[in-house]
């Protein structure tokens, strides 16, 4: 609390107020709180178009976090060909397997990348491919289990030269 008061006081000094009253304090604290909560929210937000594609596959089913592991380089110097691997944690038995994995590049002009369909005969739900990325963004993969459950994973990647342009 002490540090917040200090910040508020210094803010008050900057705007030329010699003393802080209760109303000013609450206003500034409010702005601070909004600012702090807005930062992680922005980092997690999925662009509208990608989200609507994900929602249309989900069709109202809940989407769980986890079980989907995406492997990507930290930085892609060439966005035209970026290696990506997706592995889904599943026993891949006759009764419990991954039916499909849908891959999205959440900030590409066309965010859908690919859908892979599996069955128990695959032994594991693990695949690799190379994709185009227009700019720094997140790769999202959503797995659909045979019982209809959905699991989602995301991984951020920096792209220095985009791969979608002409």
């Amino acid at each position: 609390m002490q540090s917040k008061l200090d910040t508020t006081n210094s803010l008050a000094k900057m705007v030329g107020q010699p003393r802080i009253n209760r109303r000013t304090f609450l206003t500034l604290a409010g702005i601070g709180a909004v600012g702090i909560s807005a930062i992680p929210f922005a980092a997690e937000a999925t662009p509208q178009e990608t989200q609507s594609k994900i929602d249309s596959i989900a069709g109202g089913r809940p989407i769980n976090e986890g079980r989907v592991d995406i492997t990507l380089p930290e930085i892609a110097e060439n966005g035209g060909t970026v290696p990506v691997s997706v592995a889904v944690d599943s026993p891949m038995s006759e009764n419990d397997f991954v039916k499909a994995v849908h891959v999205f590049a959440d900030d590409n002009p066309l965010p859908e990348v690919a859908s892979y369909y599996f069955g128990p005969h695959n032994g594991k739900a693990d695949f690799s491919m190379r994709i185009r990325l227009g700019k720094t963004q997140k790769v999202v993969a959503m797995a659909e289990m045979n019982n209809g459950e959905l699991f989602i994973g995301r991984k951020e990647i920096k792209v220095t030269l985009g791969g979608c342009g002409g």
């Binding site: 066309l110 695949f127 491919m129």
Partner: protein, 111 residues
């Protein structure tokens, strides 16, 4: 790139044991034209022509189907896993927007 130049390549282990989960690596040469690019001289959009689907059959079953969008790189590479059951052919079929399909078959040796 002329369509005649399109060559699929497949790599699987020389031999596998029954029940073994082995990796299948595939590569096919294809420019995967996104449909987003514009011809700089005429200003016209270059029509989309991508491989939109890949199917793999083995031991009487479809063991993989992949649906691809323009965000898949040119000369698409993909790898995946299959559980070995018995010796026999593994057939790969790629289809592109022009309606052309490309096939390749490899033999799986189960010891």
């Amino acid at each position: 790139m002329a369509k005649a130049d399109i060559k699929p390549r497949i790599r699987i282990p020389k031999s596998v044991k029954a029940g073994e989960i082995f990796e299948v690596k595939t590569l096919i040469s294809h420019e995967m034209e996104t449909g987003l690019r514009v011809n700089k001289e005429t200003g016209a959009k270059i029509p989309r022509d991508i491989i939109n689907e890949m199917k793999v059959n083995y031991d009487g079953k479809e063991v993989l189907r992949a649906v691809w969008q323009p965000s898949v790189s040119a000369n698409p590479y993909t790898s995946f896993f299959v559980m070995a059951t018995k010796s026999g052919p593994m057939e790969f079929i790629w289809s592109d927007d022009s309606g052309t399909s490309y096939n390749k078959t490899v033999e799986v040796n189960v010891s």
